[in-house]
Every structure is written in C-alpha cells, then in structure tokens.
C-alpha cells in the first residue's frame, strides 16, 4: 500500500515536472494600455498561445517612458524576453543599455510609409502626431504648425511633458523639425496659449474631452476611435501643411533571454496578418504589415500627412537634453 502510494507520488511528480518543462514562458514588457482589456494584448496572447504551446506573460508598465527606465533599472537581471512599445525616439537610449539583440529579419517589405531600417528594433505599428480639435468649439482649426505657433490670438491647447511622455517628446521633435534653430523662439511664442502641460497622454486627452481647451496633442488616428466606437465626427485632427511628426512603435528581444527561439517566433508573429489585424481598433494606430481586410471605415478620411517628419534617433538621443533644456527655459518664463 505504502509503496503504491510512493510510486503514485513519483509518477505524479514526474508528470508535473514534464508538464512544467513543456510550457515555455515568454515574458514581454510593454505599456499598460497595450495589455488592458481594451488593448490588443488579450487577443494577441490568446492567438500566440494557441499556436506556440507556450505561456505568454505580459508585464505592463505605465507607458513607453517607464518601459525604457525599467530596462535601464533592471539591466542583466531583467526577466524580459522581449520589450514591446518603445518608440523610435527612444531606440538609441535603449540600445545603449547593451541588453538588446538583433532581430535578424528582413523588414524591407513592410508597409510602413516611413523609411525604417534597424537591425535591432522591429516596428509593429505607427502613427502621426496631430492636434485634435473639437469641431463644435473650434471652427477654424490651424492649418500648419507655423500658423498654430504664430497666431498669437489662436486657441488654447493642451500638450504633454517631453520629460515624462512619448507624445510630449514627439511634439518637442516636431517643433524642432519645423522650426530648426528657431525652435526655442517658437516655444516662447506658443507658451502663453498652452493651457497646461500634463505628464501623459491620458490626462491631456481627458481634460480636452471635458472641454478645458479646444486643441490637444494626440494622433491623426484619434478621430477613428470616436467614429468607430462612439459614432461621432465631432473630434477631428487638424491637417498641417508643414508636416506631421511620426511615431513608430517598436519591439526588440533581449540578448540574455533564455528563450531566443520563442522570442524570434514572437517577433515574426508580430508582422503576421493576424497580429496586424488586431492593431487598428485596439491600439488605434496604423498596422505596419498587411491586414486581411482593408482598415475599418472609421479610418478612411483620416488626415494623410503631406509630409512625414522623423528625426534620426541618434540625433534625438544626443540632442534631447539640450532641446529639453531649451523647452524648459521657454516655458518657465
């Protein structure tokens, strides 16, 4: 009887171990809106797990900025296999941690309308920054960044802080791209009309929807959400003739990850039709790869930038401090 019990236990233990060894676990660090119940995370986890016979675990951090600082904080102790959700402006800083490995994929055939070449970071979606306005309170939306800055009687706007948020940093670079050396003057000119500078996108957009200001820094795709989910055309993006700054969201695998094969598999999966299908109506960004069907109707008629702006990530990393200092000085007068 006793030995039977012993044998039973041994078999059971072996089974548990076998089951445990079989399911590999892939850990992905990303930002919280990606994995929230409304984001692409849950669907993507399901699809990948159905196929890979593994467990996919998301670790959700506040946003892209938190993602980078977590990577810097954890260093070689990081249990991440993949980091997903950095934007193109942060790639150089992320690369300097020395933690990331090359993806080894050919990305020349991506449907990205912006030139992107990088052996470490693989894009999974992209979008353009834009000022979104409330068409009920603002009849004459600005038609260019120059017009927005120079019209001293223009509408008030809400922006994000470039020290804490990726859209905020995006705007800093947008102003840089358009005004170049005169960026500091542009900020001084704009400053009196900036209602408030928030720490992230959510706070800014929330205040905007409450009617605090008629203009907010967001994305060209924001109106698609309101159309698709709320069925309203009230919120629109202002088309700027001097261009829109692009945001490319990227992922990379960690060099010390013990699950290299699985990580590679996920990166490849990221560019697949199934993955890309999920992106538009959950992350409210444009897919970088082919989707099985054309984009939902809400996406037609969105602002198409006549000029796409994107500064070299290397330049951004080297100049960021200087430019933020300029911004600080212009706005704290």
């Amino acid at each position: 009887m006793k030995s039977l019990l012993c044998q039973g236990l041994t078999v059971l233990t072996l089974l548990v171990f076998a089951a445990h060894a079989e399911t590999e676990r892939l850990t992905i660090y990303t930002y919280s809106s990606f994995v929230s119940d409304w984001g692409p995370g849950p669907t993507i986890k399901q699809m990948f797990e159905d196929d890979c016979d593994c467990k996919l675990e998301f670790v959700a951090l506040e946003d892209g900025a938190a993602l980078l600082s977590r990577l810097q904080l954890e260093g070689r102790y990081s249990k991440a296999d993949i980091v997903l959700g950095l934007d193109s402006n942060l790639t150089v800083a992320a690369k300097r941690t020395g933690l990331l490995a090359q993806h080894g994929l050919n990305i020349s055939k991506l449907g990205l309308s912006i030139h992107w070449e990088d052996d470490t970071f693989l894009p999974f979606d992209y979008g353009y920054f834009a000022f979104v306005y409330d068409s009920e309170t603002l009849k004459n939306a600005p038609t260019s960044l120059k017009a927005l800055v120079q019209n001293t009687t223009g509408p008030r706007l809400i922006i994000q802080d470039p020290r804490t948020s990726t859209p905020g940093l995006g705007l800093l670079l947008w102003v840089r791209s358009v005004f170049e050396d005169k960026a500091s003057d542009a900020w001084s000119q704009l400053a009196p009309r900036i209602l408030t500078v928030t720490k992230g996108w959510s706070e800014a957009y929330g205040l905007f929807l409450n009617g605090e200001a008629p203009l907010v820094l967001s994305y060209t795709t924001s109106p698609a959400y309101h159309r698709h989910v709320e069925g309203t055309d009230r919120y629109r993006a202002a088309a700027f003739s001097d261009g829109h700054y692009a945001q490319i969201e990227v992922a990379a695998k960690l060099a010390h990850s013990p699950h290299q094969e699985l990580a590679d598999r996920f990166l490849k999966f990221m560019l697949s039709t199934e993955f890309q299908d999920v992106i538009p109506t959950t992350n409210w960004m444009f897919p970088v790869g082919a989707t099985s069907q054309p984009l939902p109707e809400a996406f037609t008629g969105l602002v198409q930038p006549t000029q796409t702006l994107l500064l070299d990530p290397e330049l951004v990393e080297n100049q960021r401090h200087e430019w933020i200092k300029e911004w600080l000085e212009a706005l704290s007068e």
């Binding site: 809106s33 670790v59 506040e62 904080l73 020290r163 929330g206 401090h321």
Partner: protein, 545 residues
C-alpha cells in the same frame, strides 16, 4: 510613594526589555528609508546635487516654488479654517451641523486623481463655475492651470482637514470662562482674543505643520493642475528624474533636500506644538456664548459655512453626476471592477494594519522613554521619526526597494508586499499624530496609578489605554486605509497588469479613450473609500471592550 523626578539611567538589558517595540519599529523605518536612499544613490558614483542647486536656476526655481505654493496653501487653508471652525463652534444648534461636518470629511478621504476630475469640472478653464460667472457678466481671463489650480485643489483637501483639526480646540475652553465672559460683557472680538485664541494656538501649529508638509510634497495635484514646468514641485522633479532621464541618484538627492526641509519644519514646530488629535468635533457641551444669538454673527457664520460647504460639495457632486450619467450598468456589471475593488480594499487594510503596528511600537516606547526613563529627547526622536515619513517620496522608496530586491529575483512576487509597505510608511504620520496625544494623555493620567496597582501588559492595554485610544485609533486607521485605496504611484511602478487595483483600472480606461467608463469607476472608487472609512472608523471606534 513619590518617584524620583531624576533622570533614570537604566541598564542596557533593561532598555532592550522595555523598549524593544520602538527599537524594532525605528530600526525597520531607518533601514527601509536609509537603504532605499542609498540604493538609489549607489547607481551613480558622484552626487552632484549641491552643484545642481548652485548652478541650475531651474532647480532653484523649483525649490522656491515648492516653498511658495506650500506656504500660500497653508496660509489660506488654515486661515479660512480658523474662521469657519469658529463659525461651527458658535453655531452649535445649527440644523444639519453634524451632517455638514461629516460631508466636510469627504475630501480628506477622496483619492487625489478623482478629486482633480471634479475640481476641473467645476473650477476649471471651462468649468461650471466659470461658465456661470460668464453668463452673469463676470469674466476672469486668467489661466486656471498653474498656481490658481494648485491652490484651489490644496484648499479643497486641506480646508476641511484644518476645520476638523481646529474645531476640538473650542471644546477645551471651560464653560466657566464663557460664563465669566458673559458677565464681563465681552464682545465677539474680545471673546476671540481672550478665550478662543489662547485655546487655538496649541492646535494651530500642529495643523499648519501637517498642511504644510502635505502641500510641500504634493504630487498628483501639481502634475495635473500645475500647468507646466514653471510650477514644478520637488516631488514632481523627483518623478521626472525617474522617467526619460532615468537618474536615480539625482532623484535620491532631491528627496534628501525635501526630507531635510521637512525635518527642519517639523523640528521647529515640535518645539511649540502640542500634538493634537484630529477628532470629529461633534461633542456638544452645553455652554453659553454671549455672541451666539446675535443675528449679525449668525448671518456671517451661515454665510461662511454655506460657502465652505458648496466649495467642497460642488466638485464631489460633479464626480457623482459624471458617474451616474456614464455607462453605469456596463461598468458595474463588469466583474473586473469588483475584483479590483476587492484588491484595493485588501491592500488598503493591510497597509493600515502595518502602519498601526509600526506606530504602536514607536508610540508605546516613546511613552516609556518619557515616563519611565525621563528621556525627553529620545522620546521626541521616535515621535519625529514616525511623523517625517510624509516627506519621503513613495517613488523613491518604491524604486529603491526595487533595486534592492532585483538581484534576489523576487521583485515580481514581492510587488504586493512592496505596495503595502510603501503605503504603510506614507500614512504612518496620521496614526502617530492622532493616537500619540491620546496615549500620552492616558500616560499622564494613569501611569502612576497603574504602577501602584501593578497593572501592566495586556490588562493595562485593555482597561486603561484601549478606552482612551479607541476613537482616534479608529479614525486614523480609517484615514490610512482610504488613502491607500486611492494610491496609484506605487502600484504603477511595478506591473500594472499584475496588481490591478481600482486606480490602475481607472488609468487603463483613461489610456483606452474610455473616459466615460472612467467616470463611473471614479464614482465607485469614491464610494469604496467612504465605505471603508465608515466601516473601519465605526468598527474600531465603537468597539465594546
């Protein structure tokens, strides 16, 4: 048998035997705070904060602004607080007085992120108030975001707190004094000068101190209503240092500056501060105020009370309105909401209990040091240690613990524990300030008697201390629990998918454009806070022993 008033020099073993709770609590606090600070500092070899403050006009501006807004907020909150508390004290028989005082307790327990939504809806750039004023022909061209927004929010939180801390001072004025004053025919001004002001001064310093510290280390309010880089506080600068710049040693240095300033403030207040309990001030002792029935003062008091009540109630009503007009059933039927609410309540109760344990260790030992060993300075040191944690930035402790736990590979498993611990440290001062005085009071009154009767240990706690500290204990535990429910900062530092508390869920909805659903979540959050407050406050406060 009178005991010698000489300072007693006990042996080492004796100290350990009697003072171990305080030693354990204080070592724990010092280890956590010191450890996390040095963990952050160790991430870079040189600390250049002195240089930073010397050279950077920006940092100097930040420091000046932090002091300026905290000073102004304190002046307004406590200044108006005195006037309104006096109105409440004078109008003892006002209908609904009790209810109004309870309503004024709500901002104290409202999570900052929720309150800010209500405040902008009412007082914001296109808020209800401004629009109505415009309809009436008044226009105020200035920007709400910036100093005005920060002040409005700080007064929203701290005016009710001041009123509730100041009001008990009136109960301490003996009724003979009132009678005497009536005989002498004192007018209202003389009453204030000769009766009320002397009673007030003892609580005023303590109240101003707490309000100043809360405003000095204000974070969420400044981030949303601050308007931009010209209105940054040190706490916000610490947060920024931990973002793109990712410079933990800079964050730690800034935190040290903040801690130093706050310690100086606490120390200087401690010299003439008799720490006072924050009680509800509902006691109505019969007394005759000569100026109570004068209609001139009645009108003034009603006006003050009505104004304060509407100032506080409007933002709360805005939150309720946004909540009930939102997709109510859709959000309420979502099981994730209730799971998050349960998680929040669990974390909050655990944090409050942890804070209580730490506080009791410090308080009992502080009292033993004072009464048994006559060592006033060590006794005060323990009190100050427990009160200073207001000024320790949660981001710094959180990040520091993260750095320490990382090489051990337990960061993710320990996330909930860290959240509880950081919250416990943050709310500790409330218990110290509320239960501390009551405990001292019991000591003053019964210490000798207990020694004579040889009453000690569990029995003394049960029969002597418990009846005295029960009420302040219930109140401060309730306060701690509610404040922990609303906490977002620490939870976000770890993994927001691992520990989805109610505030995290609120942010997830924000992040997914679901602002209408977020409004409902905010309403649930505020109701949860009020419920937990009531249950803990009544549960402990009214316990029969």
């Amino acid at each position: 048998m009178a005991r010698s008033s000489k300072r007693i020099r006990p042996g080492f073993g004796e100290i350990i035997r009697v003072c171990w709770p305080g030693i354990v609590s204080s070592l724990f606090l010092i280890l956590i705070i010191g450890g996390t600070f040095s963990a952050l500092l160790s991430t870079s070899s040189s600390t250049k904060i002195i240089d930073d403050f010397g050279n950077s006009t920006y940092l100097r501006k930040v420091l000046v602004f932090t002091l300026w807004q905290a000073g102004l907020s304190t002046l307004i909150s406590v200044g108006i607080g005195v006037l309104v508390a006096r109105a409440f004290a004078r109008q003892q028989s006002l209908t609904g007085r009790r209810l109004i005082l309870q309503l004024l307790g709500l901002p104290i327990v409202t999570p900052v992120i929720v309150a800010v939504l209500g405040i902008t809806a009412v007082y914001g750039q296109s808020g209800i108030l401004r629009e109505n004023l415009q309809l009436l022909g008044f226009s105020w061209p200035g920007n709400f975001y910036g100093l005005p927004g920060i002040l409005v929010a700080h007064v929203f939180f701290n005016l009710p707190l001041s009123i509730r801390m100041l009001l008990p001072a009136w109960d301490r004025i003996p009724s003979e004094n009132w009678r005497l004053a009536a005989h002498l025919g004192m007018n209202s001004r003389q009453l204030f000068l000769w009766l009320e002001w002397p009673a007030l001064t003892s609580v005023l310093a303590g109240t101003a101190g707490i309000v100043f510290l809360l405003c000095f280390s204000s974070f969420a309010v400044v981030l949303v209503l601050g308007g931009g880089p010209s209105t940054t506080t040190i706490e916000v600068a610490i947060y920024q240092a931990l973002r793109f710049d990712f410079d933990p040693s800079r964050a730690a240095s800034l935190a040290i500056v903040q801690l130093t300033i706050c310690t100086i403030v606490i120390l200087s207040l401690h010299r003439w501060m008799r720490v006072q309990p924050i009680s509800s001030g509902l006691a109505t002792t019969s007394r005759y105020r000569p100026d109570e029935k004068l209609w001139k003062y009645r009108c003034l008091d009603f006006f003050l009370i009505a104004l304060t009540t509407s100032f506080v109630a409007l933002p709360l009503l805005a939150i309720v309105y946004a909540g009930i007009t939102g997709p109510l059933t859709h959000v309420l039927l979502d099981s994730r909401l209730w799971a998050a609410a349960g998680r929040s309540a669990g974390i909050a109760l655990a944090a409050a209990t942890t804070a209580l344990t730490l506080a009791m260790g410090l308080l009992f030992t502080s009292r033993v040091l004072l009464f048994q060993f006559r060592n006033r300075s060590s006794s005060s040191a323990l009190q100050i240690l427990g009160s200073i944690t207001f000024a320790v930035p949660p981001m710094v402790i959180g990040t520091g613990l993260f750095i320490i736990l990382l090489p051990m590979g337990v960061v993710f498993d320990a996330a909930v524990l860290v959240i509880i611990l950081v919250n416990a440290i943050l709310v500790l001062p409330y218990i110290m300030r509320t239960v501390g005085p009551a405990l001292l009071d019991a000591g003053h009154r019964y210490d000798r008697l207990c020694h004579q009767l040889d009453l000690k240990g569990w029995n003394r706690l049960r029969f002597v201390e418990w009846p005295v500290i029960r009420q302040p204990l219930g109140f401060s535990m309730a306060l701690c629990a509610t404040l922990s429910i609303g906490d977002m900062g620490v939870a976000a530092l770890f993994d927001t998918s691992g520990v989805i508390t109610l505030p995290v869920l609120l942010y997830h909805r924000f992040g997914a454009y679901r602002f209408d659903e977020a409004a409902v979540t905010a309403l649930v959050l505020i109701i949860l806070c009020a419920l937990v407050f009531l249950i803990v406050d009544r549960g402990i406060g009214k316990w029969r022993s």
